[in-house]
């Protein structure tokens, strides 16, 4: 381990992993990769590797949780024990409990839950490898799994973080930037509705910096939105060609 404090951005404005300040990590998404799930998707965003699977709408267990006027959306964000440097206990941590809740609430505004009363939609996000920004990548991939399950939605939900490192605003923080940086602003967004469905922040920002960070996150979201749509097309367009 080098003891020396390394700069997160060099004098040419290039970040530790070779990116420019407003550049996303290389992102690859596959839709419909899990045969058993009703809907599924897989994302690689930099070194992040995350799977999402959706079961439902189906009967609720236990039954008393069923809602008379809409479907019950349940979400579990979970990290594999081998996903981080030091083995993580497989039992859900307090962080995972919080993230499960806010991810559910980030996706809920998109879904027409009223179409499926007395059912549940169960969403599972498994982080196989974590390298910063897993809540955002988890939302991006989960939204595609929901779409793949054929659940009607108002829009895809896409998420991306912006933050401040070495005094500069940057897009899509990686692990090191998240830990050593000055601030992190994860944000989830439905582009067609101009709706922010998740917003968190930690660190220290002035109001002006915060506004710029939000706008930068939105830029990232819009780029990822195109990748999301392509991934969805890649599955269903090839299917249609097969059938011909």
């Amino acid at each position: 381990m080098p003891k020396k404090e390394e700069k997160l951005i060099n004098k040419d404005g290039i970040r530790s992993d070779g990116r420019k300040s407003n550049e996303l990590r290389p992102t690859k998404i596959i839709v419909g990769n899990l045969p058993n799930a009703d809907g599924s998707a897989y994302i690689e965003q930099g070194k992040n590797k995350i799977l999402a699977g959706v079961y439902g709408p189906h009967e609720v267990h236990p039954k008393h949780l069923a809602l008379p006027d809409r479907s019950l959306l349940r979400c579990r964000y979970h990290m594999a024990p081998f996903s981080v440097d030091e083995r993580k206990s497989p039992a859900p941590s307090r962080r995972e409990h919080e993230l499960s809740k806010i991810i559910r609430q980030a996706l809920e505004p998109a879904i027409f839950l009223k179409y499926y009363p007395r059912t549940s939609i169960d969403l599972f996000i498994e982080v196989l490898q974590a390298h910063g920004g897993t809540r955002c990548a988890g939302i991006t991939v989960a939204s595609l799994a929901l779409a793949d399950a054929g659940i009607p939605m108002r829009d895809l939900t896409v998420a991306c973080a912006a933050g401040k490192i070495d005094g500069q605003l940057v897009l899509d923080l990686n692990d090191i930037e998240d830990k050593k940086g000055e601030a992190d602003v994860p944000l989830a967004y439905m582009p067609n509705l101009n709706a922010v469905t998740l917003l968190q922040m930690d660190g220290q920002l002035t109001l002006g910096e915060f506004e710029d960070a939000v706008r930068l996150s939105l830029e990232g979201c819009k780029k990822l939105y195109n990748i999301q749509k392509e991934a969805l097309r890649a599955k269903y367009v090839s299917k249609m060609e097969d059938e011909e």
Binding site: R94, R95, H97, E98, S100, K101, I102, Q105, E108, P109, V185, M190, L193, N194, A195, V196, T197, L198, L199, Q200, M201, D202, G203, Q204, L205, T206, L207, F210, E211, V214, R215, L218
Partner: protein, 263 residues
């Protein structure tokens, strides 16, 4: 989740669209805050805060323990929330649920990210022995906006904390006579807004929370920077709404801070 009658829900929503609130407050009017400090003698620090009818008691305990491996020179901060069953007919005994965990983590984030406590000063022996600050939040009466009430009570309790004096001599920790205040560097204040029927209101009461689409908490530190944000609820915010709320939060935070810090 909502156990407010449909009629009442409709009434709250209709009033909001006219810029009025169910309890007669203005949209950006906070409920009355009362703070009592040092209510629990056995705790190193404590405070009881009332925000309207919401009531929260916070106790601070300090113990000696081991630091985290990645911060060997820093003391440890832990925040826990108990939604005590006597606080609401909807609460049940048991381990903290996701609401309690989220509440604790939002309060924790405000204190941690603003560097409210100078954790470096809580180190006794680097890598081996540090002081651990336990902030235990006890919700006594739930009438909405637990985040703000808890954050105020936690800050008040920290400001009220007297810790024992320790000194390390030849690898042994010795207890010295007298007490020290906690080394405080910042005073974060959380300000929460609810979005109901497209309108924003500060400090939502219980009924408002049960009909709100979404919630946004912005924590402001003493030099007016933002140090933590949390969106909650199943709805959304527009960018314009977020920026407006952030500005109002700055104003309200400095008002509320005067109530806590002067004491």
């Amino acid at each position: 989740m909502s156990n407010v009658a449909k009629v009442k829900q409709k009434q709250i929503a209709q009033l909001m669209s006219k810029g009025k609130r169910f309890d007669g407050r203005e949209l950006y009017e906070y409920r009355e805050v009362t703070i009592e400090m040092g209510t629990i003698e056995k705790a190193e620090g404590s405070a009881r805060v009332r925000l309207g009818k919401t009531e929260v008691l916070v106790g601070v305990k300090i113990d000696i323990g081991e630091p985290f491996a990645d911060t060997p020179n820093d003391g440890v901060l832990t925040v826990n929330v108990e939604l005590v069953p006597l606080a609401s007919p909807t609460y049940e005994p048991g381990p903290p649920n996701e609401n309690a965990i989220e509440l604790a983590r939002v309060v924790d984030r405000g204190i941690r990210e603003s560097k409210a406590i100078n954790l470096e000063k809580l180190c006794l022996e680097p890598g081996k022995k540090v002081l651990i600050v336990f902030i235990d939040i006890y919700v006594l009466n739930y009438d909405g906006n637990l985040i703000d009430a808890s954050a105020i009570a936690a800050l008040a309790a920290l400001l009220n904390t007297k810790m024992a004096k320790y000194e390390v001599e030849e690898g042994k920790i010795l207890l010295k006579p007298g007490y020290l205040p906690l080394p405080m560097l910042n005073y974060p204040i959380a300000v929460t807004f609810a979005k109901i029927n497209g309108k924003l209101a500060i400090d939502p009461g219980l009924e408002e929370e049960q009909v709100m689409d979404s919630r946004l908490t912005i924590t402001i530190e003493k030099d007016n920077k933002i140090c933590a944000i949390q969106k909650g609820g199943s709805g959304y915010f527009t960018i314009e709404q977020i920026l407006e709320v952030a500005k109002v939060a700055q104003e309200k935070a400095s008002e509320v801070r005067k109530l806590v810090v002067k004491k």
